[in-house]
């Protein structure tokens, strides 16, 4: 049963813009110049005989000379004294921590090459975010500071220590203030070091400052329940989830963990037990979370608070003073009524979250959650999260103190306020009055550039330490490599400067664990420490999660919210500006990472830039074209950014991502996009992420490099299949038609011989209902398979090299009726606000009857007896016929020698950064095709391990890189010949279908139909 629902990859495809139609006639974005040669003056022009002979002679001579080169002598240099645990060619894994997640660091010959999840990690159970995957590359960043600096000049550690100690002594004697500014510190040992430092210098105060802050929630919990904590949310325990602008799958607090929790109630297992959570999202711009929601209601930032007030009224049955219906947003009004009913029905299993950093808004959210009985079930205040503890007002106070000249020393630890503080000029002015300014930054970042001493910190892969992401969960950070440069751990510097009895931070951590933490996991002594280093964490018994009742008066709170609302809304003539973080770049601390810059944004598919997202209706009203550069003016600051027409964006709003526009990040991140942090404002002691803005066109056009418009869906309807939960309950094989009227295309065998797969048949199953589209797999694949980064211009030419991409398809909201024709939908442009999104990871399908194989003239791509579509790079001559003939467009052509072409500043080129390459996978040269190999190096390694251990390959022994990193467990890989394997079971589910199955290519990757929990009653 094929649905006739229309899917489209982008607006240009929907509207069939002439440009798009023209581009899609061709396989490649730019015509091949050979055609010019053949048709233009190329052939007509005569080459004189003498010239021809000259060229020939020179050519032969040059080639002969070049061939005279001797074969290079290769040196083989063994270890002088080999460390006992290193075997060249065999990877070692070390437990460590990334942002509170227990991870494993894969090292080869002593250098970390890949981050993998610790399967026992409490938060994401082995899932690893794109950030963590990419973090290994930053270790080899050549732009890291290589030694301490004073006033821009190099200095040894001894002199640095001498200088700072004498300064500190003088400051202590002078009695002026010392301030330590850090982003939230979750490490118990670091906090202890700072506490010791404060004991030595009692005038010191430590403030956590987060660029994107959660102070609002912490403050609200203080006001509501007397507990100033960031609660631990349990999305897995919620049947109904309502989010007001909280992008909890993409960027909010702990996205990898929340993805794992969220998917638990929506994956195959849950569906087979006839259970699926319901998720309603109210938001302005289209976020990753919003695009995954069952129902998404676009609201303006000014309407968000009002909507919450209305929801509170509907849930409590009371009416807060000043509450009113949303102006011009009847959809939201309707939705609130339905949502309230559903929430009440799911009492105790409901969860309302809001992304706002406004205290009043969060207090109201607390009130609603209290009414829904969420405390003790879906919200845990007794085992709180420690991931964010930013104190906005506290930091503002420090800025004021510096400006008043009260501060004599300030230390910046993993914080860069000169870049990400909303009023950067205040801090710049204030810093001038501070006598001793020390930054621990490992780059000469915006703040470090204004400091007189930079004492570069170790990278986390070189450090000892610990982490405590949520109460009772302590992870250990251990170095996986010796420090690459002459850096020193910030904690050690603080220990030395404060004349601590323990000068060595490792000893300090050890002591701290021996004394306080090991016992929490029932461990002790040397053996306990060794166990810890192997397991990576200890887990103390959880506190009993108590139930909390909200009992405060809400009138004042509602009034504050409404005031803010009115202020933002104004007279409605201006745009409302919403600031958000992208899934890849987040707050911009890792802007210098090329893997993250090239990771397409899940929704907009834009790489290497930020932009102003407008709704298609506003684009039309304003007469903007995609990529038109506009000036955005808000809060007394303005930037120019290209506009992007974003279906789903609320009309009258514009969304801009923060984290871009770095000026001192390094060559990769500098001047990519524009800085949007100055649009922040301070209100009631917290940073606010919305403002009113004026947009004016500059007349320029700066095309964005998007990836999703590179191919057309060509009107094929068998690519994406989705169904509603109600339909699924009635008939689990809805859409796939398995069992009855499903046509068997596998016998569609006109051109191809059948292959036997006597031993293994490696296949994959991807659950579209579990995949959230976060893109962690894309980065994991890049790290595993040495995939080059090509840069903005090349992405614009459709030459990105990712072996796996996340396709994002839009469709109109068909209100569950199905089969809405496109014409009637287009008529109502408003409907572009209510689009549905489906994500589909697309990689080589390893077809049984692969069209690429038949057209390869040199047999460079052939079928293996294990069901793989093999690609022999060294055989490929680069005809690109295979890419032309691939219906999935998953083949990638090497247009350049990315590893030695001077036109690209590629990580593959640098002698230092190329140490991150996986030695088991070759780098490809110019002129050859490449594509997903199904991590054949891992398959081979898994089989070899089994052979050596004299056992069969067990299901789950071999995990491919994308599967391993997926926090949602959406990807299952295995042997289809084994009927008991996970993948066989997944593929036999009723929801399984194969993309473009009707072509008869017998794809090896099965997808499971996307299910939406939409009831018939509402939009």
């Amino acid at each position: 049963m094929d649905s006739n629902k229309k899917y489209w990859k982008g607006l240009e495809e929907l509207n069939k813009t002439p440009e798009f139609v023209e581009k899609n006639k061709h396989e490649f974005a730019e015509p091949i110049p050979i055609e010019d040669v053949l048709t233009g003056g190329g052939l007509a022009g005569s080459t004189p005989r003498r010239d021809f002979l000259k060229a020939l002679g020179f050519g032969v001579g040059a080639v002969t000379l070049a061939a005279c080169q001797k074969v290079p002598v290769h040196k083989s240099i063994p270890y002088l004294i080999k460390p006992e645990d290193v075997t060249p060619g065999v990877a070692n894994y070390y437990t460590s921590t990334y942002e509170g997640h227990a991870i494993l660091v894969k090292t080869r010959e002593g250098r970390p090459i890949k981050i993998e999840g610790n399967p026992k990690d409490l938060l994401a159970k082995g899932g690893v975010s794109a950030q963590a995957q990419s973090s290994v590359l930053d270790l080899y960043d050549v732009n890291r500071l290589k030694n301490p600096k004073k006033d821009g000049g190099d200095l040894g550690w001894g002199q640095t220590d001498e200088f700072i100690k004498s300064e500190l002594a003088a400051i202590k004697a002078g009695g002026k203030k010392i301030r330590i500014v850090s982003s939230t510190i979750t490490s118990p040992s670091t906090l202890a070091v700072i506490a010791d430092f404060i004991t030595q210098f009692p005038n010191t105060k430590h403030i956590n400052y987060d660029a994107v802050s959660y102070t609002g929630i912490i403050q609200a919990n203080q006001n509501s329940f007397g507990k100033a904590v960031l609660p631990h949310y349990n999305f897995d325990k919620a049947d109904v989830i309502v989010s007001f602008g909280a992008d909890f799958l993409g960027t909010w607090i702990s996205p990898a963990e929340f993805t794992r929790q969220y998917v638990q109630n929506r994956n195959n297992k849950s569906l087979q037990s006839k259970k699926m959570s319901r998720h309603i999202q109210f938001e302005t711009g289209m976020s990753l979370t919003g695009s995954n929601a069952d129902v998404r209601i676009p609201v303006k930032p000014s309407e968000e608070g009002l909507a919450l007030v209305n929801l509170y009224n509907a849930v409590s049955g009371k009416t807060l003073p000043g509450s009113k219906a949303l102006k011009n947003n009847s959809t939201a009004d309707k939705a609130i009524a339905i949502v309230a009913k559903e929430l009440l029905a799911a009492k105790g299993k409901a969860l309302v979250v809001a992304g706002s950093n406004d205290v009043a808004t969060q207090v109201l959210v607390n009130a609603i959650n209290s009414l829904l009985g969420s405390y003790g079930t879906t919200i845990d205040l007794d085992n709180p999260s420690r991931q964010y503890a930013g104190n906005d007002a506290g930091f503002v106070e420090i800025v004021n103190e510096t400006n008043r000249g009260e501060v004599d020393a300030v230390f910046f630890l993993n914080s860069n306020p000169v870049y990400d503080y909303y009023s950067s000029k205040d801090i710049v002015a204030g810093l001038k009055k501070v006598r001793l300014r020390v930054s621990f930054a490992d780059h000469n970042d915006e703040t470090a550039a204004l400091c007189n001493v930079v004492a570069p910190n170790h990278y986390y892969l070189e450090s000892w330490g610990d982490d405590n992401a949520i109460e009772g969960y302590y992870t250990i950070l251990q170095p996986a490599i010796n420090p690459v440069y002459d850096t020193r751990q910030a904690e050690q510097s603080l220990l030395i400067w404060s004349d601590n009895a323990v000068k060595d931070y490792y000893t300090y951590v050890r002591n701290n664990w021996d004394k306080n933490l090991l016992s929490k996991g029932g461990l002790s002594g040397q053996s306990g420490w060794e166990t810890l280093l192997q397991t990576g964490f200890v887990k103390a018994a959880a506190n009993v999660s108590g139930s909390y009742t909200f009992s405060r008066d809400l009138n004042a709170v509602a009034q504050t919210i409404l005031d803010h609302s009115n202020l933002l809304a104004g007279d409605g003539s201006k745009f409302e500006l919403q600031l958000y973080q992208t899934v890849a770049i987040r707050d911009g601390k890792k802007a210098n990472n090329p893997w993250l810059q090239e990771l397409p944004d899940p929704v907009s598919k834009v790489t290497w830039d930020n932009f102003a997202a407008l709704s298609p209706a506003d684009m039309k009203n304003k007469g903007y074209q995609e990529g038109d550069v506009v000036t955005i003016d808000a809060n007394g600051y303005s930037v120019t950014l290209p506009v992007l027409s974003q279906p789903g964006q609320k009309q009258g709003t514009v969304s801009v991502a923060v984290g871009y526009g770095r000026t001192n990040a390094g060559p990769v991140g500098d001047n990519v996009g524009k800085n949007a942090f100055p649009f922040f404002s301070l209100r009631n002691g917290t940073f606010q992420t919305s403002a009113t803005a004026v947009l004016t066109a500059t007349g320029d056009n700066s095309p964005l490099s998007q990836t999703q418009t590179h191919h057309s869906i060509e009107g094929r309807n068998s690519i994406i299949k989705e169904a509603t939960f109600t339909e699924y309950l009635k008939n689990p094989s809805v859409e796939t038609g398995k069992g009855k009227d499903h046509k068997d295309y596998s016998k569609n065998n006109l051109f191809w011989q059948d292959y036997d797969h006597p031993q293994y048949n490696w296949v994959m199953a991807i659950d579209l209902n579990a995949c959230t589209g976060c893109g962690a797999c894309v980065v994991a694949c890049s790290a595993e398979n040495n995939i080059p980064v090509v840069g903005k211009a090349e992405v614009g030419r459709r030459r990105e090299m990712h072996w796996i991409r996340i396709d994002r398809y839009y469709s109109f909201n068909d209100n569950g009726k199905g089969g809405v024709t496109k014409e009637t939908e287009i008529a109502k442009l408003e409907d572009l606000d209510h689009v549905k999104v489906v994500y589909q990871p697309m990689l080589c399908q390893h077809c049984g009857h692969a069209p690429c194989e038949t057209v390869c003239p040199v047999l460079a791509t052939v079928h293996s007896s294990e069901g793989l579509n093999q690609m022999a790079y060294n055989r490929c001559v680069g005809t690109r016929y295979c890419a032309n003939n691939c219906p999935y467009k998953v083949r990638r052509f090497n247009w350049f020698n990315y590893w030695n072409d001077s036109r690209f500043e590629n990580y593959l080129q640098n002698d230092h950064t190329l140490l991150v390459l996986n030695p088991d996978v070759v780098t490809r040269s110019r002129g050859v095709m490449e594509k997903c190999s199904m991590c054949v190096q891992r398959i081979q390694a898994g089989k070899l391990k089994a052979k050596i251990e004299k056992r069969s390959v067990k299901d789950g022994d071999i995990k491919v890189a994308c599967q391993q990193t997926c926090p949602a467990n959406a990807i299952v890989f295995g042997n289809a010949n084994d009927p008991d394997s996970e993948v066989s079971k997944a593929l036999s589910s009723e929801r399984t279908y194969y993309v473009l199955e009707e072509l008869g290519v017998q794809p090896g990757v099965g997808y499971q139909v996307k299910i939406r929990n939409i009831s018939e009653s509402e939009a």
Binding site: S76, N874, L944
Partner: protein, 434 residues
């Protein structure tokens, strides 16, 4: 009476003899059995001591001969730490002289055992000193020369004399031919056939004419040219075909490591040094600490008086001083071996796959390595060579549970008997190229 006195005489003699021997023994050293001592020495002492040179412990020959107090020696051997603890001055001196490295206590050795060992040590040291040193060296040199000759086959002398004989034979044949020609001419002269003389004078002109005549024969010219072209082409083909194939490549290595000595004569298992071959894709060149396992005590060739310069290179690389037995890491410089076996980067080769899973011998690819003085590339390392082997080699299913299921698969297929690596998919692209 006579007989009685005879018996008495004999008796008294023997008593005297025994008494004399006993006196001698007790006064000088406690007399031990050198033969017994040798066995004990090899079992207990040789790990740390040598008779003539200092290794971990001092050279025993001199020190034991100089030391006469065997009781003290026995005490030292049985419990040297006890003596040191008791602040015995002699013991303390030795202890400090040898880097305060404690000697293992051999409480199990009785005084008699120690005496045996001492006897062996002293006699061996005596014989060592008796044999003139140059003689040994010369003898050894002669031995090695002969050995070399045997190893390289016919000596240069044989080759040159053969060449000489051949040249001589040629000269004789030429001279004889000349003589025969003269005799024939004389014979003809005698017969009165003088006219021939004029004809022979024209002969050189005729010879040139033959060449000219031959050059006019187009068929012949074509044939010659064809042969030349064919020869050139086949030479070109072979040269091109073998471009970048370095079979027989035998570079000079920084240390003249002899596989024939280590793997051949000494029968050291390949795994001892190339431990990676059984665990990893790399066989791995041993790090120098592996060399030092043996070469800490062996610094010279067998029976050599002087330390080997090649072994000294190991010490230099490590910054190791054999005199003080201390390492100086600041002087350490890694050894830069020249890599002989180079597979291109786009080939994945795993040693453990072949050696452990595939049960292949090292020699299959590396040749008779235990006979190579210097290692050379034995195999061409071409894809053809790989594929050929994969086609010919049968998979050994026995005793490996990995193949249990797969074996059934092949039984079901009822073909491909016996199963080669290729049948198992061993010649598919992505088995080696990824």
């Amino acid at each position: 009476m006579r007989s009685f006195s005879l018996i008495f005489k004999q008796f008294s003699r023997s008593v005297l003899l025994i008494a004399g021997f006993a006196f001698l023994g007790f006064s000088a050293y406690a007399q031990g059995d050198a033969a017994k001592g040798e066995a004990l020495y090899k079992a207990k002492c040789s790990a740390c001591h040598k008779i003539d040179i200092r290794v971990v412990g001092p050279a025993l020959g001199q020190i034991v001969t100089a030391e006469t107090d065997d009781k003290w020696l026995a005490k030292w051997v049985q419990n040297s730490q006890g003596l040191i603890a008791a602040k015995d001055p002699k013991a303390l001196k030795i202890f400090n002289e040898y880097n305060q490295a404690g000697m293992t206590a051999f409480a199990e050795l009785s005084d008699g055992d120690v005496a045996d060992i001492m006897a062996y040590t002293r006699t061996t040291w005596k014989t060592m000193q008796a044999v003139p040193a140059p003689g040994t060296v010369a003898g050894q040199a002669a031995g090695t020369a002969a050995g070399q000759a045997a190893a390289t086959g016919p000596s240069n002398l044989v080759v040159f004399s053969m060449i000489g004989i051949i040249v001589l034979a040629f000269i004789i044949i030429l001279v004889l031919n000349k003589v025969i020609a003269r005799l024939e001419r004389l014979l003809l002269k005698n017969k009165g056939l003088f006219a021939e003389e004029a004809a022979t004078q024209k002969a050189p002109v005729d010879r040139l004419a033959t060449v000219k005549k031959l050059a006019k024969n187009k068929k012949l010219v074509f044939f010659v040219l064809l042969c030349g072209t064919l020869a050139f082409c086949s030479w070109g083909w072979v040269t091109m075909w073998n471009t970048n194939i370095h079979q027989g490549y035998q570079p000079v290595q920084p240390i003249k490591f002899a596989h024939d000595l280590h793997a051949g004569a000494m029968k050291i298992d390949c795994q001892y040094c190339h431990s990676g071959a059984y665990k990893s894709k790399n066989a791995s060149i041993p790090s120098l600490n592996v060399c030092m396992n043996c070469h800490k005590t062996i610094d010279r060739a067998l029976n050599s008086k002087t330390a080997s310069t090649e072994i000294q290179k190991i010490y230099d690389a490590l910054g190791y001083d054999p005199q003080t037995q201390k390492y100086d890491s600041t002087k350490a410089r890694p050894v830069q071996w020249v890599r002989i076996h180079n597979l291109p980067d786009f080939v994945y080769f795993n040693h453990s796959q072949h050696v452990v899973a595939g049960k292949q011998k090292c020699q299959t690819c590396h040749g008779q390595i235990q006979e190579m003085k210097e290692v050379y590339q034995y195999s061409p390392l071409t894809m053809k060579w790989c594929v050929q082997c994969h086609k010919r080699t049968k998979v050994d299913f026995k005793g490996n549970a990995y193949y249990t299921n797969l074996e059934q698969v092949h039984k079901l297929l009822g073909e491909h008997k016996p199963v080669s690596v290729a049948v198992m998919g061993g010649i598919e692209c992505s088995k080696c190229h990824y």
